[in-house]
């Protein structure tokens, strides 16, 4: 760590960094230890990428997400996650109808009309995403071109971008990846001679963002910027001196797009649990040349708190087995946290998609006996799960209650996406999310 290390390339082997920054030390990427992966190609039981809009539309407070799709898309959005608590959400669906498909109406004209009506109704919107869906992909409606055309018409009031959240291409959290990746080309350019900056990519709860910002400030790392920002006009600049920590594990395309803008991705475990958070922060600290003593001084109190809060749940969780159905790509880092910090025993860890580069530090920390599965064949996976009868099964909303009826204890996976779980102060909360269903079983006498 103390020896200066050469900056190396990532992912696709091509470096787009046009200028080296002497003060920054980037550790070389580690590779992924060889291990068997179970690839499954049966029925998937996962959300499509549209569901990412549920948090993205609250995170970016002046953005609107217009899905171009079918009634099914609109129905998914209002059914899937209780978003109807918001009186008027900043998303909607342009529902294609028979006359659109039959060619009676020109789809592009129709879309232009919908966008015009929408922006008239919501004049406060500054950033509009046209979001592709299964049907729009199948009929090959070109939303990129539509976005460009509309961007001209509504310039400069509203920026218009597009991405696909379709279920034939993306699952759940990949929607955020696609959205952020679509944002990256329009990020302001950081000049080549700018000082090195840290970018944290991936939507975080505001309170977590604030905590990380405070820690980085105390460490002396800065400026630190977050992608996405809370307002369209505050999106972080990017350039060859941008060093990027991924706060979420599902940002494959975003990482690639950032690299294309010249940024460097710092490979790190994800900030889940005391150890995960420490390793994640240390990656940045090392890169920015923060000495160990400073790092220790700044992080020790919060780390101690995290360890203390986590340890309180160890008693109830140690030795308990856990089984992950694929859902958000958070499964592997979560399994690592549960295994290393709580002594739990992951059996199968399913992930909808596995990026071996991004996930290498996490995978390497998992015991060989942990079965990693990618993709899904839900009926077969249920068979395996019932055979193993894990102490806790982490799964989606469609499966949880039926498994509970069978006497299994489940953890609702979407909750892990909607709850602030990253960072030191949330490490105890994260452990508690797994302890809670077991705690509940203990309490209930009926």
């Amino acid at each position: 760590m103390s020896a200066p290390v050469q900056k190396t390339t990532l992912f696709d082997g091509k470096t787009t960094l046009s200028k080296s920054v002497d003060s920054i030390n980037v550790a070389p990427n580690v590779g992924c230890v060889e291990r068997p992966i179970l690839h499954e190609r049966g029925q998937h039981e996962v959300f499509c990428g549209l569901t990412g809009i549920m948090w993205l539309h609250r995170k970016i407070q002046d953005a609107f997400f217009l899905i171009v799709g079918s009634r099914t898309c609109a129905h998914l959005m209002q059914s899937a996650a209780g978003v109807m608590i918001f009186a008027e959400p900043r998303f909607g669906t342009a529902i294609m109808e028979e006359r659109d498909l039959a060619g009676i109406a020109d789809m592009n004209d129709e879309l232009d009309g919908v966008v015009a009506r929408l922006l008239e109704r919501r004049p406060e919107i500054r950033l509009l995403f046209l979001v592709g869906s299964c049907p729009s992909e199948v009929i090959k409606l070109d939303l990129d071109r539509a976005a460009q055309r509309l961007a001209v018409r509504h310039n400069p009031d509203v920026r218009i971008l597009s991405y696909s959240g379709s279920g034939i291409e993306t699952t759940f959290t990949q929607g955020e990846d696609a959205c952020l990746a679509a944002l990256v080309p329009s990020l302001p350019a950081e000049p080549d001679n700018a000082p090195a900056t840290l970018m944290v990519a991936g939507a975080l709860a505001d309170v977590v963002e604030d905590q990380f910002a405070r820690i980085f400030e105390q460490l002396g790392i800065g400026p630190v910027r977050f992608l996405p920002a809370r307002l369209a006009e505050d999106m972080p600049p990017v350039g060859p001196n941008t060093f990027c920590l991924l706060a979420q594990p599902f940002l494959t395309d975003t990482a690639r797009a950032l690299q294309e803008r010249g940024a460097t991705i710092l490979q790190a475990p994800f900030p889940l649990g005391a150890q995960g958070t420490t390793a994640w922060l240390k990656t940045a600290a090392d890169a920015f040349g923060i000495d160990d003593e400073t790092f220790e001084t700044v992080t020790a109190p919060a780390r101690e708190r995290a360890l203390r809060a986590v340890s309180r749940h160890r008693e109830n969780l140690e030795g308990k087995s856990v089984f992950f159905f694929p859902d958000s790509q958070l499964e592997i880092p979560l399994a690592r946290f549960l295994a290393t910090e709580l002594g739990m025993v992951p059996g199968e860890v399913g992930t909808p998609y596995l990026n071996r580069t991004i996930m290498a530090p996490e995978l390497n920390a998992l015991d060989d006996r942990v079965r990693i599965s990618e993709g899904q064949d839900v009926d077969m996976q249920l068979v395996r799960c019932r055979e193993e009868r894990p102490d806790i099964t982490v799964c989606g909303l469609g499966l949880a209650n039926p498994l509970e009826v069978e006497g299994m204890t489940t953890k609702w996976s979407i909750e892990l996406v909607f709850t602030p779980i990253q960072g030191y102060e949330q490490a105890g909360d994260l452990a508690e999310l797994f302890a809670r269903p077991l705690n509940r079983k203990t309490r209930l006498r009926v």
């Binding site: 029925q43 998937h44 039981e45 996962v46 959300f47 499509c48 990428g49 549209l50 569901t51 079918s70 009634r71 099914t72 609109a74 129905h75 998914l76 209002q78 059914s79 899937a80 109807m84 009186a87 008027e88 959400p89 909607g92 669906t93 342009a94 529902i95 294609m96 109808e97 028979e98 659109d100 498909l101 109406a105 129709e110 879309l111 009309g113 919908v114 009506r117 929408l118 109704r121 919501r122 004049p123 406060e124 299964c134 049907p135 992909e137 199948v138 009929i139 379709s166 279920g167 034939i168 699952t171 009926d379 989606g396 909303l397 469609g398 499966l399 949880a400 209650n401 039926p402 009826v405």
Partner: protein, 523 residues
């Protein structure tokens, strides 16, 4: 292309799922991408069902589209049969599946499965959930029921089928319990309830009944009509929501079952609802002529309008439905109140009408709950689409006599109670009971949404005296006087005053105008 924030109905294949999931041994193979599996949670989470819906999705992906998605469908159908061993299967496509034109019905035929396989073609880009449920039930019954045994001559006593209840229905679970209870107590045998909790075999027995009861017309009417034509079974169309409708419903049934009129009347008296007395009790006098707006599916709105007007003593000032298939019935019902029905599936149109009418109570769906919330109006939910709270643990029918009890409580709950109204009027300026306070029995410190004016959404309620576009403007003194009117009638007072001012060419509303309008509109 239609811009939608919320949708009143899901796609038609969700309607088919409601039929399949309601039944005990039917399986649905759906040609659909992975994202469409979200629909499972409607049943396992919102309705808290103990089993996954009996649906196999092919979950084709982008990479499959170049290849053979037909084969994927065949494989899935074969696998589904092997894994689940249903008594019958239905096959079809979701919106995306429809676009790739693989013809699931035709493909399924070639599989040679040992159970009936019924294709259900549900045009996703023109039809919706209730139509999908209705069509699926119709195709099922048409395919299966004719093969059943005819009614044997020596069967004892009258019998009927109850048609329409499904999984994920709005109060179907409890409505069925209430109605079956009433009918059986009258001495009529309930032959089959379908599709809810029915087996495929039960469908074979449909012919055995003397008559049918169509409990949910949106779902059961087409099937009941077909059975009337085919099996010569008359059917009861009255929806037993409210005290009068329940009595009429029971009398119709008695007539079909050959039960004596007076015996039926005695039965009705024995099982009387509390609604009539609660509605006549003097603490309900304040309900009189409160202006009510209704929106929801056609059957519920039509039935509930009658309850509102003639059983609760409200004044129905607007009503509408998203059930286009029942537009004519809705228009006829509305005409009885001198109204024109709103037929739309656009949430924003409903919002506009509610805002224009400023009713004192909104009876609607979860969507109208939102509208009412934004406009600061009391609201009760009386129709699908459903929410987890529409599946309470307790017995909560809308139909029958206990249903009428439930309705009384439901319709009164959101309102400010009578005496409280007076105290509010008397002491509006009291700092402990100011304008921000909602009905005191609601929630912890219910406060009205005046601060929501920060929300930049354009349809923002203008219950206070901000002038509406093109409307006369308010002088300061009149605005102050308007604010002395309690919140639960202020919207109406403002609307009336502006209407009066406009009709009389008054450009600036003064306190005088306010009172002129009050006198003009006094009822």
């Amino acid at each position: 292309m239609q811009l939608t924030v919320w949708t009143y109905e899901g796609p038609p294949h969700v309607g088919a799922m409601r039929i399949a999931t309601g039944m005990t041994d039917l399986h649905y193979v759906l040609h659909a991408p992975q994202g469409d599996t979200y629909a499972d949670l409607l049943f396992t989470m919102i309705e808290r069902r103990k089993k996954r819906p009996p649906v196999t999705y092919t979950t084709f992906q982008a990479r499959d589209l170049g290849g053979d998605t037909s084969e994927l469908f065949m494989e899935s159908a074969r696998g589904a049969y092997a894994h689940h061993k249903p008594a019958a299967m239905i096959v079809g496509a979701s919106c995306t599946g429809e676009l790739i034109q693989d013809d699931p019905g035709g493909l399924a035929k070639t599989l040679g499965l040992p159970v009936p396989v019924i294709p259900v073609e549900l045009p996703s880009y023109s039809k919706k959930e209730n139509w999908g449920a209705s069509e699926t039930l119709y195709q099922l019954v048409r395919s299966i029921a004719p093969s059943g045994p005819d009614k044997s001559a020596d069967s004892d006593g009258p019998s009927c089928n109850i048609i329409g209840p499904t999984a994920l229905g709005f109060r179907h679970r409890d409505d069925v319990r209430e109605i079956v209870g009433l009918i059986e107590t009258m001495g009529i045998h309930v032959n089959v309830v379908a599709p809810l909790d029915a087996s495929v075999h039960d469908l074979l027995l449909l012919k055995q009944a003397d008559f049918n009861i169509c409990l949910y017309p949106e779902i059961g009417d087409v099937t009941c009509q077909w059975m009337k034509r085919t099996f010569k079974q008359p059917y009861v169309k009255t929806v037993p929501i409210g005290v009068q409708a329940t009595r009429e419903f029971l009398h119709e049934i008695a007539a079909l079952a050959g039960i004596d009129e007076s015996q039926c009347e005695a039965f009705c008296l024995d099982n009387e609802s509390r609604l009539p007395w609660y509605s006549r009790s003097i603490d309900s006098t304040y309900l009189t002529a409160k202006r009510v707006y209704l929106f929801g599916d056609a059957s519920h709105v039509i039935a509930m309008a009658r309850v509102a007007q003639t059983e609760m003593g409200f004044e129905v000032v607007g009503m509408g439905t998203y059930s286009r298939e029942f537009a004519r019935d809705m228009r006829e019902a509305a005409a009885q109140y001198g109204l024109e029905a709103l037929i739309t599936d656009d949430y924003l149109e409903v919002e506009e009408q509610v805002q224009a009418l400023q009713p004192e109570l909104v009876l609607g769906t979860q969507m109208e709950r939102h509208i009412a919330k934004r406009l600061g109006l009391p609201c009760a939910v009386i129709s699908a689409p459903v929410h987890v709270q529409d599946y309470p643990a307790r017995y909560s029918p809308q139909m029958g006599f206990e249903g009428a009890n439930v309705l009384f409580d439901t319709l009164v709950h959101p309102l400010t109670m009578g005496l409280e109204e007076h105290l509010l009027q008397m002491f509006r300026d009291d700092f402990e009971f100011n304008d921000e306070a909602g009905p005191s029995h609601l929630g912890h410190s219910a406060k009205r949404a005046t601060t929501s004016a920060q929300t930049p959404a354009p349809a923002e309620a203008k219950a206070d005296a901000a002038p509406t576009d093109g409307a006369p403007s308010w002088a300061q003194d009149a605005e102050k006087e308007l604010r002395k009117i309690p919140f639960f009638v202020r919207g109406k007072a403002k609307r009336n005053t502006e209407k009066f001012a406009a009709a009389n060419g008054v450009m600036t509303i003064t306190t005088e105008t306010l009172y002129e309008a009050k006198s003009h509109f006094s009822r």
